[in-house]
């Protein structure tokens, strides 16, 4: 961990490093050290009780104050935001209403104007028509006048008709004026309309006046006709002039109307434009409003989140902790101890097995020795020595021999084994120089146990011989009488065996004790070998499975705690641009804790941003059935070993501490295969449901096209340079670390192979020797019969081999159990070893064991070859 200077501005000391007086010279894994330190720890812890209560008050008060202030701030801001947003909303609504209203008004105005325009146009047309009509009337009157003028008053009747026609016209005009006046009374008329209508009325009035004048003219004409006809022509011209003026005025009115229309249209277009701009303005305002609102809401949500987090923190504060950490809380210290304990456990299991086999070695060796001394024992006995003193001779011999052997073994063992293990451990740990501790009690016990096993074996072997009469003793041991074996009862099987197979089968069961000892010895050897190989298999298997099958991504990139969205985007861009990156998945990795019934267990909680894609990066499956385990919104999936440690299964409820101090109950929905460390998986939705918070994205799982140390490091060094990246973990490196552990174990495996082989060698050598010794007459006989050397050895060894094969196979079975037992014993808390043994290891164990057997047979071949026929046949005496 690294702390920057600026983060050091903390008002109180939170840590003190304590050296306990007098602890330095003690073994830090020893009891004395622990006792000494734990005394100090206890008093410090007591001090902690008081201190932490005081400190809690202080901190909690401070925190509560701060929280209250923050809450107030937050609430004020929230209120302010709500107000602002409400005001903005109202304004917007008003603007919208105004725009809609304006639009509607414009629409009616347009419609009204159109109506007015249509009406006015029609009225102008009407007026035009009237003028035209008037002109026609006028022309007709003039023509009439002209005619009358021609006729000079001869036609007066016509004149009065004209007068009547004009009067009718006048009436019509008057009616028109009336109707226009009526129109004027309409209150909805606009100013322009009103003006136009008034103008029109004026026009009509002009027309009326004109018609009136016309009437006058007609009267005058009549007068003229009556008297002043001469003046009539002038009058007509005047009337015509008048009529022309009226026409011109009407035309002007028409022009005015057109102008009015143009003017109105321009005005309408302007209004329309204004409204459109108004809408645009409104949209812009609305967008701005939406943005500010969203921003504000997000800020409020964030604020709320902060407050919840803060509340959680304070909740956590309610359980104050005063940690007094001795070395047992130091990772490397504990790790080293764990590994030591592991070796210790292995060292406890294997000797049990070795003792069994070594006991067998002693027993067979002593039996052989006493067997060879049979005749001598017989002679001593015949000479009158007491059984006890004869036995003492051999027991003493056994005791002395085993004492020497034991001492030699202790000297070699104490030198070689620690050296081998120290060497392999130095690969992993930086160790202080090699320092031998004289394990006097252990040495004494080892030698004593060895002596005891040997002397007891000798005693037992002697005792059996001494039971017999001296005469029998001095003769070679009578060969065990032949007996039918159970196989012969199965005649189907027996009859199908070849002669030599029958002989082998018989011989195998002839010497039950030897058969049993051979099987045990050989089985012990192959079991030890298998357990040894299996040990390294299981551990390499873990590496293979964990980093090859379960974690199928290559890099784990973790953002710094302070990384912003931009930082994260930048890191993702680096990945997007890199050719070697196949894909990546963002997620949240939390150092959480889970608690079932016992203690808290630290666990890495992984929350993928896209749960559906998780299976491309991490394989979640059941170990036995290999069926995929799904993560759902209904619970968390936890790793297998974790489930075991929690003592919980699918459907159970456990407590999850999210690392921020919030502790919630969660349901286990599945259990996934996993070997190294503890993991828990959940979906963001479920996290949110449980903690009321969205998980903060803080890591990326990256898959590369081409994995491998070089490719990983190239990308990794690029990433680590980015200030948003906190750490980059390469899985090939993790795998390599575990491979080192495998190497250590491999050195132990070699030690096991050598020891197991030596044991098998000695046991087989003894047993084969005894076998040949007991059957020397039989072997000499078949030699006399003309068996070639290889046939003789086949005759003797065939059964040996079959028994060894049986023993080896039995050993493989025993070995699987032994291996399973070892694996369970050495398993650490956060690693699941499983108990996998490669198929090839069975083959190796079997072949190596048989190799030792064959080696013994080769060594014994000379002895077989040199058996003298002559002497062996002489007599039984």
């Amino acid at each position: 961990m690294m702390i920057l200077d600026k983060d050091f501005a903390y008002p109180v000391y939170t840590e003190a490093l304590v050296t306990v007086e007098g602890a330095k010279q003690l073994n830090s894994y020893g009891k004395e050290y622990k006792d000494l330190v734990s005394g100090v720890v206890t008093s410090l812890e007591n001090l902690g009780q008081d201190r932490s209560a005081l400190r809690l008050e202080e901190i909690r008060k401070q925190a509560m104050d701060e929280l209250e202030k923050a809450k107030e701030d937050f609430n004020a801001q929230k209120r302010h935001f709500t107000e602002t947003i409400q005001k903005a909303e109202k304004e917007l609504n008003q603007a919208q209403m105004k725009l809609v209203e304006g639009e509607a008004a414009l629409e009616t105005e347009k419609k009204n104007f159109e109506e007015y325009y249509a009406r006015t146009s029609k009225e102008i047309e009407d007026a035009e028509r009237q003028i035209t009509k008037a002109r026609v009337e006028y022309e007709r009157a003039r023509d009439e006048y002209n005619r009358i003028l021609e006729e000079y008053g001869g036609e007066l009747k016509i004149l009065s008709t004209i007068s009547g026609g004009i009067s009718g016209l006048r009436q019509e005009v008057q009616k028109e004026i009336d109707s226009l006046n009526e129109l004027l009374e309409d209150p909805e008329l606009t100013e322009e309309e009103r003006k136009s209508i008034q103008r029109l009325i004026k026009l009509y009035e002009i027309l009326d006046r004109y018609i009136d004048q016309t009437v006058g003219i007609v009267v005058d004409l009549d007068n003229l006709i009556q008297g002043q006809v001469a003046k009539a022509g002038e009058q007509f011209d005047k009337a015509k002039n008048q009529l022309d003026i009226q026409s011109a005025e009407l035309a002007a009115a028409k022009g005015q109307l057109i102008d009015a229309k143009r003017e109105a249209e321009a005005k309408f277009a302007a209004a329309q434009r204004q409204i459109r701009e108004g809408w645009k303005e409104y949209e812009k305002g609305k967008r701005e409003y939406d943005r500010q609102r969203a921003e504000g809401e997000k800020k409020i949500e964030e604020g709320q989140e902060k407050i919840i987090r803060a509340e959680n923190e304070i909740e956590k504060l309610s359980k104050p902790q005063w940690y007094v950490l001795d070395r047992s809380h130091h990772y490397s210290y504990v790790d080293y101890e764990k590994t030591a304990v592991q070796i210790d456990r292995i060292a406890k299991i294997f000797p049990v097995f070795f003792f069994i086999v070594a006991g067998l070695v002693c027993l067979t060796t002593m039996t052989r020795m006493v067997d060879e001394q049979r005749v001598t024992i017989g002679v001593y006995k015949a000479l009158g020595y007491r059984s006890r003193s004869i036995a003492l001779k051999y027991v003493l011999y056994a005791a002395v021999a085993s004492l020497f052997g034991g001492v030699l073994g202790v000297i070699i063992g104490m030198r070689v084994f620690p050296e081998v293990i120290y060497k392999s451990w130095s690969m992993l740990y930086t160790l202080p120089p090699f320092h031998t501790v004289q394990q006097i009690p252990l040495m004494v016990v080892s030698v004593l146990v060895g002596m005891l096993a040997t002397t007891l074996s000798a005693l037992w072997a002697c005792y059996k011989e001494l039971q017999e009469a001296p005469a029998t003793l001095m003769r070679p041991k009578a060969p065990t009488a032949g007996r039918k074996i159970f196989l012969e009862r199965i005649s189907m099987l027996w009859e199908n065996l070849s002669f030599s197979q029958k002989v082998t089968a018989r011989n195998m069961f002839r010497y039950k004790k030897r058969f049993f000892m051979t099987v045990v010895g050989v089985a012990g050897c192959s079991a030890l070998l298998l357990a040894g190989f299996g040990l390294s298999d299981s551990i390499s298997q873990i590496v293979k499975k964990q980093y090859g099958e379960i974690f199928i991504y290559d890099l784990n990139v973790r953002y710094t705690a302070l990384a912003t969205e931009e930082d994260k985007q930048r890191v993702m861009n680096i990945l997007n641009e890199n050719d070697n990156v196949e894909s990546y998945l963002a997620g949240t990795e939390i150092n959480a804790k889970l608690r079932g019934k016992g203690d808290d267990i630290p666990v890495t909680l992984i929350i993928p941003s896209d749960p559906a894609r998780l299976r491309e990066y991490i394989t979640l499956r059941d170990r036995n059935s290999q069926i995929p385990v799904k993560i759902s919104d209904k619970g968390i999936v936890i790793s297998e070993k974790l489930a075991k440690e929690l003592n919980a299964g699918s459907g159970d409820t456990v407590e999850l501490d999210n690392g921020d101090g919030a502790r919630k109950k969660v349901v286990i929905s599945g259990i996934a295969e996993n070997y190294i460390f503890h993991y828990a998986y959940m979906t963001p939705d479920y996290y949110n449901e449980i903690f009321r918070l969205n998980p903060k994205i803080n890591n990326l799982m990256v898959k590369l096209d081409e994995a491998g140390t070089e490719a990983e490091h190239k990308l990794g060094s690029l990433l680590i340079k980015d200030e948003g990246v906190g750490s980059v973990v390469y899985y090939s490196a993790a795998a390599a670390y575990f491979k080192d552990t495998v190497k250590i174990l491999n050195s132990i495996v070699i030690v096991i192979i050598i020891s197991a082989g030596l044991l098998a060698l000695v046991v087989m050598y003894n047993l084969t020797n005894i076998n040949i010794g007991e059957r020397i007459r039989e072997i000499a006989t078949i030699k006399v019969l003309g068996f070639y050397d290889h046939e003789v050895s086949a005759y003797v060894y065939r059964e040996n081999m079959v028994i060894s094969i049986i023993g080896s196979i039995a050993g493989l079975f025993a070995g699987t159990f032994l291996h399973r037992y070892i694996m369970v014993s050495i398993e650490q808390e956060e690693v699941m070893f499983g108990s996998h043994i490669d198929g090839i290891s069975f083959v190796y164990s079997f072949l190596i064991t048989m190799g030792f057997v064959v080696l013994v047979n080769i060594l014994m071949y000379r002895r077989l070859k040199n058996i003298p026929m002559v002497e062996s046949l002489k007599s039984v005496e």
Binding site: G482, R483, V503, E778, I782, L785, G786, K874
Partner: protein, 234 residues
């Protein structure tokens, strides 16, 4: 003229550290095919030694042994094994049956390595053990065991049959039966049979009697009218 078996100045000296024991001190004799020969002498005379070197079980120190035209005394160990395997049948004083094999199996043990073995069942009938064939040696009397041993020697169809004190561990009557069987084998099948005994009374039944004393031949007597075993008393 050449004999079937010929010993020429055969010496056998056992060296035991400083001490030299001359078991055979220059022996010469010959045996013809189909002869029934008795080798007799006191204990320690060297009878067994003669049989052993003749049977290819031991080497000689000096001289030459010829069997069927071959100088077997110059054979390598492997050639000697082949010689024992195909040409010689042995009958021991203490039978030396394989304890873990039944009577029949003991006979089969020899039959299966022979080049041209006789029928096992026939041999069993010939030695009169039809009803004991499935018994183990420990379940048979001494005489029966010796008959199994003879059958085991005969089944290989050897050129010569060597018997070292075949009746030594048997009672008079049983011994007689065994000797009869050996004599019949010689007479009926033309087998060369050599019997070692310290019982001089048996000299009467042999075609040829070789008497040994202190590693030397004392006398070789040709018996023109060998007696039937039944008629000999001792």
């Amino acid at each position: 003229m050449s004999h079937f078996i010929e010993f020429k100045n055969v010496k056998k000296i056992y060296r035991m550290g400083e001490v030299e024991i001359e078991a055979l001190a220059g022996i010469d004799f010959s045996i013809d095919k189909g002869e029934f020969v008795i080798i007799a002498g006191a204990s320690g005379a060297g009878k067994t030694t003669i049989l052993n070197v003749l049977g290819g079980m031991d080497s000689i120190t000096f001289g030459e042994i010829m069997v069927d035209g071959q100088i077997i005394s110059k054979y390598s160990p492997r050639e000697l094994t082949s010689y024992r395997r195909y040409d010689v049948g042995f009958v021991f004083q203490f039978y030396n049956l394989v304890p873990n094999l039944t009577a029949q199996e003991n006979i089969e043990l020899a039959a299966q390595i022979a080049r041209d073995p006789l029928d096992v069942d026939q041999i069993i009938s010939r030695v009169g053990l039809d009803d004991r064939r499935m018994n183990f040696p420990s379940q048979l009397s001494g005489g029966e065991q010796q008959r199994v041993a003879i059958a085991r020697a005969l089944v290989k169809n050897p050129k010569l049959l060597l018997c070292d004190e075949p009746t030594g561990a048997l009672d008079y009557k049983t011994g007689k039966g065994i000797l009869k069987m050996l004599q019949d084998t010689c007479r009926n099948f033309g087998m060369t049979v050599i019997i070692v005994t310290h019982n001089l009374a048996l000299a009467a039944i042999g075609d040829k009697v070789i008497r040994v004393k202190s590693g030397r031949i004392e006398s070789i007597i040709r018996n023109r009218t060998p007696m039937d075993v039944e008629k000999v008393e001792w």
